[in-house]
Amino acid sequence: MKQRPDKASAEASSSEEINITIESVDRRSALKYLGIGALGAVPLMVSAPVMNGLVRDVVKGTPADEGSAVAEPALTKSGRIRQWSMIIDLKSCDGCQSQGTPPQCTTSCIEGHLVPQPMEWIEVFEAELPGGGTQFIPTPCMQCEDPPCVKVCPVGATFPTPEGTVLIDQERCIGCRICMAACPYDRRFFNWGTPPAPPEAALADYNPDHQTPATVGTVMKCDFCPDMVRDGTLPMCVQACPNDAIWYGDLEEDIATNGRNIVKASRFISGNSGYRLKEHLGTKPRVFYLAGHGEDVGRDPDETGRMPTEWPWIQRAEGAVTWTR
């Protein structure tokens, strides 16, 4: 590596022959630079709490924060936060075969939330049993305690509430769909096109508790009807089930009801061989299943098939854009 004589640089106005010294990359220089870099991180780290406070002050000024009511979580009488869960008694679920209708839990959810076609926030899957025949599994969002969807969202658009339900803020969602890739239960749905909306949807002020109106390019899912249960009624699917197969419970007070009876939730689950879906994945879902195939309502496992899901309200929507799953 040669060096150009200094005197030549004084007269030269161009860069004809040049040899640049690249410092030999030995351990010492590498460590030196890494050390400088690490040192540079210290002031940023130290200032982080200060910056945190500064940024919080800046954000505080936005209009949404001033004088608006914050929804309280659902509380027991003594102020403990309810921990919502569901227990689905598969001994009583026959996919509404005996009713001759599409599954009524799905339909009531669709009608009540104006769910765009083809989303089924609670979906009744038909699974094959090991010994032959099938069982019906109504599958709402599992409201996991360790939700994979929450973990991966880049903007925090999906978040867990203190009651344990996982909600979506469709005004923050950027539509990247990594939450849909992460959910192991296929319970998240995307508005691929502009979803249809009836006139009633205009009455709704959007709120994550009640995902209406649906907006294009965002993700939606079952939300355990938090606005309804906070005010003391049961979710739509629980109310609609003709066999009272869906129980809705509070794990804090350890009780559950299906609209007709009340049980102590933990004893009900353990005493009826309750289990959760895909337990090995570690998502800790809040939906428990009691094994069965509809035998309590007289269903034989070999009676397969159910009516396909319908979206009755779509007929009233102007220019409905729908798609397939």
């Binding site: 640089s9 699974a127 658009a157 950027i174 192991p184 854009v321």
Partner: protein
């Protein structure tokens, strides 16, 4: 040493030719790229209006061609790091003519790759949410951080070694190019005079960047792989994804570099500088990474296939035998084994053979990204029928527009920027030349056949042997 100067003058005149001379073919090429780009932009406007409905992505297969293109282009961007940084750090002198092209490919590929993420978003106008409400716990945020860091670092790493060459253009070409380019050269050359202090400072800057850009590049494609492997899907839930993706990135990056080099070499008659040796060495790199990819793929598929957990059988079936079999086996045989075989056989160890290998690799790596994304999502999570996915015309148009943008940016860069690191090549050539000079002298005195006949510029040198000191 006049001969070195002659060599250098020839180098400068040949490599600055694209900047000075524009043929009609150039405009034709530019027009073609613009047409493809405009078509893509029109299709994107339909997507903007109607939502992602215009694609074939649906709830069950919610990622498709766009994410494939994103991963593919980010992968290509690793060409620059390998050639420019790793080979510079290990002082491999043959890399000198190709560093600039490699660094340009890196920067351009990053820009194109990052835009595919925006194209895939359901609500692109809310991109600021990523900065206002970003959660650092999210793999996508790691992706944003890593790609931003890599883009900045590679632009600086592209720019810093280019300063002396920009100064060269400023001094030589300012009167021959328009005012815009002259202003650009003058501004970007940073008052470069070649003084010792400037040399030292630039050396420091390049050393720092060279050191940190290697871990940055490794981290970029690792976090891209974590977007998939941080989920619980069969086929994605694998710990080897980081290695697979980084190796695949360097693999496809080298292949793209070979292709771009071959094309530019043919068009601008740069055979003297992009020699067969360069292609063969890059071919060796390609084969080496191909062998490594084979090893990683064996690890991945053998360990999963031996166990065949729940839904594992479906995943294997669709990949090895049914829907995606053609793609998969082309990838394994054509893309991974191909370069290894082509480089092992001496007959195909030519420029033609290496370019053929590079074409196979680029196609195969694109298919690999595609079937990793789609097959991972296609495995049913609950008891339902598996969905299918076939990209629509809109998706293909936008993908083609991405490729067109890649080519367009490089085409424009050729017109403006020096595509060769003249100063580095001069350095390397001088070192080689000095060694050959001494050898020639000793041979002349010993009466051996004139080996200098094989060295560039040898006839000139023979005349001057008596007068010059080595």
């Amino acid at each position: 040493m006049d001969t070195l100067t002659n060599w250098r003058e020839r180098l400068i005149s040949k490599t600055s030719r694209p900047t000075l001379v524009t043929t009609y073919r150039y405009w034709l090429w530019l027009a073609l790229l613009t047409v493809v780009l405009i078509n893509g932009m029109y299709q994107y406007s339909t997507q903007w209006r109607n939502g992602l409905y215009v694609t074939d992505m649906r709830d069950r297969i919610s990622w498709g061609l766009y994410i494939t293109a994103f991963v593919f282009f980010i992968g290509i961007s690793h060409a620059g790091t390998l050639i420019s940084a790793i080979l510079r750090a290990s002082k491999a002198s043959w890399r000198a003519p190709i560093t600039r092209i490699a660094e340009f490919i890196t920067a351009v590929a990053l820009i194109v790759g990052a835009s595919f993420v925006l194209i895939d978003m359901g609500r692109p106008e809310r991109i600021l949410n990523v900065y206002l409400f970003g959660r650092w716990q999210s793999p996508i945020m790691w992706d944003v951080m890593a790609i931003t860091t890599y883009l900045t670092a590679s632009i600086i790493y592209l720019y810093a070694p280019m300063i002396p060459d920009l100064a060269l253009y400023r001094d030589r070409l300012s009167k021959k190019v328009g005012t815009v380019r002259a202003f650009l050269y003058r501004t970007l050359a940073l008052d470069w005079r070649g003084t010792p202090s400037q040399l030292k400072l630039l050396g420091k800057a390049i050393t720092i960047m060279m050191l940190i850009i290697i871990p940055i590049a490794v981290s970029v494609h690792t976090v891209v792989s974590w977007i998939f492997s941080m989920t619980l899907r069969v086929g994605w839930n694998s710990s080897i994804f980081g290695v697979l993706f980084v190796a695949g990135a360097i693999f496809s990056g080298v292949a793209t570099l070979i292709l771009v080099m071959a094309i530019l070499r043919r068009i601008y008659q740069w055979e003297e500088y992009l020699t067969e040796k360069h292609f063969v060495y890059l071919g060796y790199l390609l084969a080496a990474f191909g062998a490594f990819m084979i090893y990683v793929n064996i690890n991945e598929y053998l360990t999963e296939g031996f166990k065949l957990e729940e839904a594992g059988e479906f995943a294997f079936r669709q990949l090895f035998i049914e829907d995606f079999a053609v793609m998969f086996w082309f990838y394994i045989i054509g893309g991974l084994l191909g370069p290894v075989v082509l480089m092992l056989i001496p007959k195909t160890r030519t420029i033609g053979g290496v370019v053929a290998a590079a074409i196979l690799v680029d196609i195969a790596m694109f298919l690999e990204r595609y079937f990793i994304v789609v097959t991972g999502l296609r495995v049913p999570l609950m008891p339902y029928e598996p969905a299918s996915y076939a990209p629509t015309f809109a998706e293909w148009s936008i993908f083609a527009a991405g490729i067109a943008l890649f080519c367009l940016l490089i085409t424009i860069a050729i017109k403006i920027f020096p595509m060769f690191a003249v100063w580095e090549m001069t350095e390397e050539h001088e070192a080689v030349f000095a060694g050959a000079d001494r050898a020639q002298e000793s041979m002349a005195t010993s009466g051996a056949p004139n080996a200098a006949a094989f060295i560039d510029g040898a006839p000139d040198q023979r005349q001057r042997t008596e007068g010059d000191a080595p």
